[in-house]
């Protein structure tokens, strides 16, 4: 074997983590029956605002910036940016009952625009590529677990050598899965996504659940953009770096059959597929073909799922539909 398997897995996991956030957030959103196609825009906003937050903290604190504070600020900025973007989406689609597809696409355009604006502004201000100080960079991208664990052959690299966001993402997906399957609120949320009129008749506040799930889901998705910028992109704003991440995340939601636990391995698989062209190049296959692999896999999964016709694997029944109470 002329390539390094552990290295490939590690790269897949690192590259999959932004997707894990993007996808999990969108799963939460879609469970409420809202199809937010603005994930791409949300991830751009998360990336730009996360970077901006860390950058300004770094500037203001001078030399004694704390790594952990910088990470928290980046997380918070990205999350809030995502919440803001999806709040616009929620207001338009839930309160004003605008078409979700159109609104989502508009949010993508808006979000990428805002992200580019903030990122490029920073870049111009600094002159050249903006980046935070090397001391802080490490607190985003360096492994968090003890060296002794990382030194275990193979497993050390495959399981214990990651930055904190990887483990945060895994924990988040597990918590989300528990929430959806083991709690009353999770049951209510799924009910809202399946049949809002039924939930309404049972006395569940449909609007509240839709808003909360969409806004929090958008925030989680945006964190994915921040993770990408701060780890993979090396805290440097590059206006094309995030392109397509959000769309892959939306495709991944379908691939995962709307289950956060599936997103754990699904994001690693897609993360791997996205970098295959770098790691396992086959000379006669152009890299562009490699890059469409995630979409091809999604299409195949869709075909298989629709052939199997298993009810549990179908999207939430009211996905994409607005809810009018008076139409009962």
């Amino acid at each position: 074997m002329n390539f390094n398997l552990a290295g490939l897995i590690k790269a897949a996991v690192l590259n999959g983590t932004p997707l894990l956030f993007g996808t999990s957030g969108e799963i939460l959103t879609e469970k409420s029956g809202n199809l937010n196609l603005g994930v791409e825009g949300l991830m751009f906003m998360g990336g730009a605002f996360g970077l901006a937050g860390a950058f300004w903290y770094d500037q203001l604190a001078g030399g004694n910036a704390s790594g952990i504070v910088a990470v928290l600020i980046a997380l918070l900025c990205a999350f809030l940016a995502g919440c803001f973007g999806s709040l616009i989406f929620s207001f338009l689609t839930i309160s004003l009952r605008a078409n979700q597809n159109v609104t989502g696409l508009a949010l993508t355009i808006f979000g990428t625009g805002v992200g580019q604006f903030v990122g490029e502004q920073l870049r111009l201000k600094v002159g050249g590529n903006i980046s935070i100080s090397n001391a802080l960079k490490g607190s985003f991208a360096n492994p968090v677990l003890p060296q002794s664990l990382q030194d275990i052959p193979f497993l050390g690299q495959v399981l214990f050598s990651y930055n904190g966001f990887v483990y945060l993402g895994i924990a988040m997906a597990i918590v989300m899965s528990l929430f959806l399957n083991r709690t009353r609120r999770g049951l209510y949320l799924k009910a809202v996504g399946e049949s809002p009129s039924t939930a309404d008749a049972a006395g569940i506040n449909v609007t509240k659940y839709k808003y909360l799930a969409t806004v929090i889901g958008g925030g989680i998705s945006a964190i994915g953009g921040m993770v990408y910028t701060m780890t993979i992109a090396g805290t440097v704003w590059n206006h094309t770096a995030l392109s397509g991440e959000g769309w892959v995340a939306v495709a991944l939601v379908i691939f995962c059959l709307w289950k956060p636990l599936n997103a754990l391995w699904g994001s690693v698989l897609f993360g791997g597929l996205m970098i295959m062209y770098l790691r396992v190049p086959v000379s006669f296959i152009p890299s562009q073909i490699y890059k469409v692999l995630p979409y091809i896999v999604t299409a195949i999964v869709l075909i298989i799922v629709s052939l199997r016709q298993k009810r549990e694997d179908q999207p939430p029944a009211s996905l994409g539909l607005p809810y009018f109470r008076e139409e009962r």
């Binding site: 209510y188 008749a201 049972a202």
Partner: protein, 509 residues
């Protein structure tokens, strides 16, 4: 004695339509009451006010003698009122227990506890349900049982069932009635919304009759009979001034025999329907909503799969031809036109965003030669419809969605007539129209009849059917319940046929 639930002076309006007009009604514990009335008599609206779906404009509601305000379904449950809607409010991918747990906030979230509760209730009233079974794998009757359990689990004392037997087989109906009686023994007050007289007689203790939103009378079931109830339900005949001419030289145009249709779930929608429609005659079709009117018209127009039976079409001066197996296009071209006015008017037949001309084109789009459509012809048709039917529109290219209901219907019916059909089917053509506009449609039907067209007119208003048609075919549960002569038949006669196959003769036999 205080009543389980009492309505006083309840009025509900939707815009200018009065759905319920000063209704006074009460039910006692341990009593099954039937709420009887025609379509649109306000039964469901009235009960929806108890269930918290609508809020009354005027009047008071008392539960156990105490005045209450029911603003949403939660309030209804808090007052011990539970309604089982005609369309089940269940989540398909959830289990029975998960559905029951929806919206109940009582301490720790524990599905096992809920499942246990479901089993207890099932045992008490003799249900047969597995709490862990998913809804999508259940039969209709099981789903209904889950709905009932949902209501009972919340401790409801007053149960409202909206036409519960509409979806059940006779055996399942019997089972449901046994359960209702068990609940009655348990002291619950039960209200059954229905328009099936035999069920009223079989299961209820008292009957309340609603007509046009008003409460006519409440009587003890033991002291009444189907004839009396029908009279109360349909009321006295209203005279309408429709110039009805005698059919001239009627010839069989459509001969239908043994027509049977099933829907995608295998439920029979039409069962062994047979009749002859004559040219130069208006054949009315009466029946309670969902008795197979729509299915019948769709079957003739070729829009519905036909399980068995034949439709023989005999055009003027040509040899008879079988329509079953032909495509809708072929049937249309042969001269069978369908003008169906659905509840939302625009849903089937017209495209709301397009003008009259373009809507006329929907009939003739495939007629032109070459790759470009021919606008001249449809424009001419649109002009004709516009002039003859006096459609009120700024221009024939104005989106039909923005026209008033009557004008939309004129466009729809006018287009079908413009194709000079030899069979004209219209369903609910005067739905929602004011009286004057309705007369324009009636006169249109009349003039078609005079031209020798076989007109099939599906209507809701019995007065209209009796005054306009030559014969009336009554459907009941997808079967032909009877064909009467509209000149001699009475409203009661038709009403009885609508509610029971054979007009009660079968039920009495």
């Amino acid at each position: 004695m205080t009543h389980a639930v009492e309505l006083k002076n309840i009025t509900k309006r939707f815009g200018s339509v009065v759905a319920n007009d000063k209704v006074d009604l009460y039910v006692d514990n341990g009593v099954i009451m039937s709420l009887l009335g025609e379509n649109g008599s306000g039964k469901t609206t009235l009960m929806n006010m108890l269930a918290g779906i609508y809020y009354p404009d005027e009047g008071q509601i008392f539960v156990n003698g105490k005045e209450v305000s029911i603003r949403d379904p939660k309030d209804a449950y808090a007052n011990g009122i539970g309604m089982i809607h005609q369309h089940f409010k269940l989540i398909d991918v959830f289990t029975a227990a998960q559905n029951v747990a929806l919206g109940i906030e009582d301490g720790k979230y524990d599905l096992k506890k809920v499942a246990e509760g479901v089993r207890e209730i099932s045992e008490k009233y003799g249900f047969d349900i597995d709490p862990d079974k998913k809804i999508y794998s259940m039969s209709v009757s099981e789903k209904q049982t889950v709905e009932i359990i949902k209501v009972l689990y919340r401790g409801a004392n007053i149960l409202i069932l909206d036409e519960p037997t509409a979806v059940l087989t006779p055996q399942e109906t019997d089972k449901l009635f046994r359960i209702l009686k068990a609940m009655k023994e348990d002291g619950k007050a039960i209200i059954l919304i229905t328009h099936k007289l035999n069920e009223v007689m079989a299961v209820s203790d008292v009957v309340a009759v609603l007509r046009k939103g008003q409460h006519i009378k409440t009587v003890r079931t033991a002291e009444t009979n189907p004839q009396q109830l029908t009279e109360m339900m349909v009321g006295r005949a209203v005279t309408l001034n429709i110039d009805r001419t005698d059919p001239v030289d009627p010839k069989p145009r459509l001969t239908i025999a043994g027509l049977t249709c099933r829907d995608s779930e295998g439920v029979s929608k039409l069962e062994d329907v047979g009749f002859i429609a004559y040219g130069g005659e208006i054949l009315g079709i009466a029946g309670i909503a969902g008795s197979g009117q729509k299915e019948l018209l769709e079957a003739i127009a070729g829009l519905r799969h036909i399980s068995s039976g034949s439709i023989i079409y005999t055009p003027e001066g040509k040899s008879p031809a079988e329509l079953v197996g032909k495509t809708p296009m072929e049937i249309k071209d042969a001269g069978v036109a369908l003008a169906f006015v659905p509840e939302d008017r625009l849903g089937m037949g017209l495209v709301g965003g397009m003008g009259m001309t373009e809507n006329m084109m929907l009939r003739t789009w495939n007629k032109g030669k070459g790759m470009f459509i021919n606008r001249k012809e449809p424009e001419k048709v649109a002009e004709q419809v516009y002039e003859f039917l006096e459609v009120v529109t700024p221009s024939i290219d104005y989106p039909v969605r923005k026209l008033s209901g009557g004008n939309v219907q004129k466009v729809l019916v006018g287009r079908e007539i413009a194709s000079s059909p030899s069979v004209l089917m219209s369903a609910y053509a005067v739905r929602g129209l004011d009286i004057n506009t309705s007369y324009i449609i009636y006169n249109l039907m009349e003039s078609q009849k005079a031209k020798g067209v076989a007109v099939i007119f599906v209507g809701e208003d019995l007065d209209v059917l009796l005054a306009l048609c030559d014969r009336i075919l009554v459907l009941c549960g997808g079967r032909v319940s009877g064909i009467v002569d509209a000149r001699t038949a009475t409203k009661e006669e038709v009403g009885l046929l609508m509610t029971q196959v054979g007009g009660g003769k079968e039920a009495n036999a």
